[in-house]
């Protein structure tokens, strides 16, 4: 087999069936053809070539150690993206843990108001439904995307700005601020209005 002409899937098959030299050749060919794609994505995420190189190298380490689990149900590039995304999510989580650190005394300070009635009613089903409705209806699609990437996946705002190609001056931050305002104005004020009376 001419490795440069083989498909990704053929290279993977070759890496599993051949001798050691063939295995190495197949993997090197496979990885090399995807270096630029992974590097480019990691650069957009990290914004810095050193951090991008670390991330990309971690991706290919992971790919090698887990290649046996690739069953061919999807294209190799789809699987490679899943690994890349997973490595990136782990990195976000590590950065978050570093930023937050372990809980300290301030984090577990005694509550100043043990029983505010409106917030206790967050257990109420209507309240939950109203909250989700606010999420769906009060936010612009791009605001929702930025919220998800930042608070749901843990991406830094500068990374979101690059990934989504946002060209406004403050990038993703502006979308987070706008979403916060809308949620507080809509659902937050509705919640405030239901406080204390026990009626909706």
């Amino acid at each position: 087999m001419v490795v440069n002409e083989a498909s990704d899937e053929e290279l993977i098959a070759s890496s599993r069936a051949g001798d050691e030299a063939a295995r190495r050749a197949a993997l090197e060919a496979l990885f090399s053809r995807h270096y630029a794609r992974v590097a480019s994505w990691c650069l957009r995420l990290a914004g810095d070539r050193d951090e991008a190189a670390e991330l990309a190298q971690e991706v290919f380490l992971r790919v090698q150690t887990r290649l046996d689990s690739f069953r061919g149900d999807s294209r190799f590039t789809t699987w490679l993206y899943q690994v890349t995304r997973s490595v990136a999510l782990n990195r976000f989580e590590q950065q978050r843990r570093r930023a937050v650190g372990s809980l300290d005394d301030e984090d577990v300070a005694e509550p100043s108001d043990p029983a505010p009635s409106a917030l206790e009613r967050m257990a109420d089903g209507e309240l939950r439904a109203r909250f989700q409705q606010a999420l769906r209806e009060d936010l612009q699609p791009l605001e929702g995307q930025v919220l998800y990437l930042h608070f749901g996946l843990g991406m830094r705002l500068d990374a979101i700005t690059r990934m989504l190609g946002l060209s406004n001056a403050s990038g993703a931050k502006a979308y987070v601020v706008a979403a916060k305002r809308k949620l507080a104005r809509g659902f937050g004020r509705w919640l405030q209005g239901t406080d204390g009376e026990g009626t909706r």
């Binding site: 990885f31 090399s32 270096y35 794609r37 992974v38 590097a39 480019s40 994505w41 957009r44 070539r49 951090e51 190189a53 670390e54 990309a56 190298q57 971690e58 290919f60 380490l61 090698q64 150690t65 887990r66 294209r75 590039t77 993206y81 899943q82 890349t84 997973s86 989580e93 590590q94 570093r98 930023a99 809980l103 984090d107 577990v108 509550p111 100043s112 917030l119 967050m122 089903g125 939950r128 439904a129 909250f131 989700q132 999420l135 769906r136 699609p141 605001e143 929702g144 995307q145 998800y148 990437l149 608070f151 749901g152 996946l153 843990g154 979403a179 916060k180 507080a184 919640l191 405030q192």
Partner: protein
């Protein structure tokens, strides 16, 4: 109201099962990725496209994937520089256990990574494997927005109207967290019967860890259920704050999701009125 308790309440409400669902279930992550890569059949492609119109969470996943599958500027000097690093230290080795150390790790001859790199730590951990298999969708976004809203609600409760919204507290961000703790959260008058969390579709088991505020581990168990009995006689005391976290594991024992770390405290028993016998102790 403790801000952490407030966050937990909002978070739980945002992902509750009986909240209004999106118009249709979110597609599998793989489907979104295939949509971004292009190989979907026309009918399936149209179904995904319609879903994306009303689901920013899935649209965000598609945007992330599209950045990967789109054209690559191989001639970009920055891309070339990263590729050169990869070629310099290729991952291919005869034994996967002998793969080269990542750039910046202790074994690497290259300059050490900055403290924030985390590569060495990642190598020490069990690999987390695949990403979660279903897009968190609106439920995931609701979780995220719930955290944002916690800052907004704190503002509404504690600040006069008209002030600019404060930024959400850093510790309130629940990043990548897809296991939602149900309870115990915050303060309780009596001992809850169990730690409970919302089940995760892809999970085969859960690892529950309970710690003290000084980071001493009291309990670390793995269970297939989405709850674990809380036995106050074993290790817990009233009037003491405990932290707990759940990690969802797939059939291979690899992490598919994790919860934020939450805390709870059972209130101390009330002082007995003068002349009455003391209440029960040692719960």
């Amino acid at each position: 109201m403790n801000a952490r308790d407030l966050e937990a309440l909002v978070r739980a409400a945002a992902r509750s099962e009986d909240a209004a669902p999106p118009a249709e279930p979110c597609p599998l992550l793989e489907r979104l990725q295939e949509y971004a890569a292009g190989p979907l059949a026309a009918a399936e492609r149209e179904r995904v496209r319609r879903h994306l119109d009303g689901c920013p969470a899935c649209a965000a996943e598609v945007a992330l994937a599209a950045a990967f599958f789109g054209p690559v500027a191989e001639a970009d000097p920055e891309v070339e520089a990263v590729v050169a690093r990869l070629r310099q230290r290729p991952a291919v080795a005869s034994d996967p256990q002998l793969v080269p150390a990542p750039v910046g790790s202790a074994e690497s001859p290259l300059p050490p990574a900055p403290a924030s790199s985390g590569v060495a730590d990642l190598r020490e951990r069990r690999p987390s494997g695949h990403a979660e298999r279903r897009a968190p969708g609106w439920r995931g976004l609701a979780l995220a927005a719930g955290v944002v809203l916690a800052g907004g609600l704190a503002f509404l409760v504690g600040r006069p109207a008209g002030d600019p919204l404060p930024p959400p507290p850093e510790e309130s961000t629940v990043r990548g967290s897809l296991v939602v703790p149900v309870g115990p959260l915050g303060e309780a008058a009596d001992w809850p019967t169990a730690f409970r969390w919302e089940p995760v579709r892809e999970a085969r088991s859960y690892r529950l860890t309970v710690r003290t505020v000084d980071d001493r581990t009291l309990l670390a168990v793995t269970t297939e259920a989405s709850e674990h009995p809380l036995s106050p006689a074993a290790a817990f005391d009233r009037a003491v704050t405990y932290r707990w976290q759940v990690v969802a594991l797939d059939e291979r024992g690899e992490v598919v999701a994790r919860s934020p770390e939450v805390s709870f405290r059972v209130l101390p028993l009330a002082e007995p009125a003068p002349g009455l016998p003391p209440g029960p102790v040692g719960q």
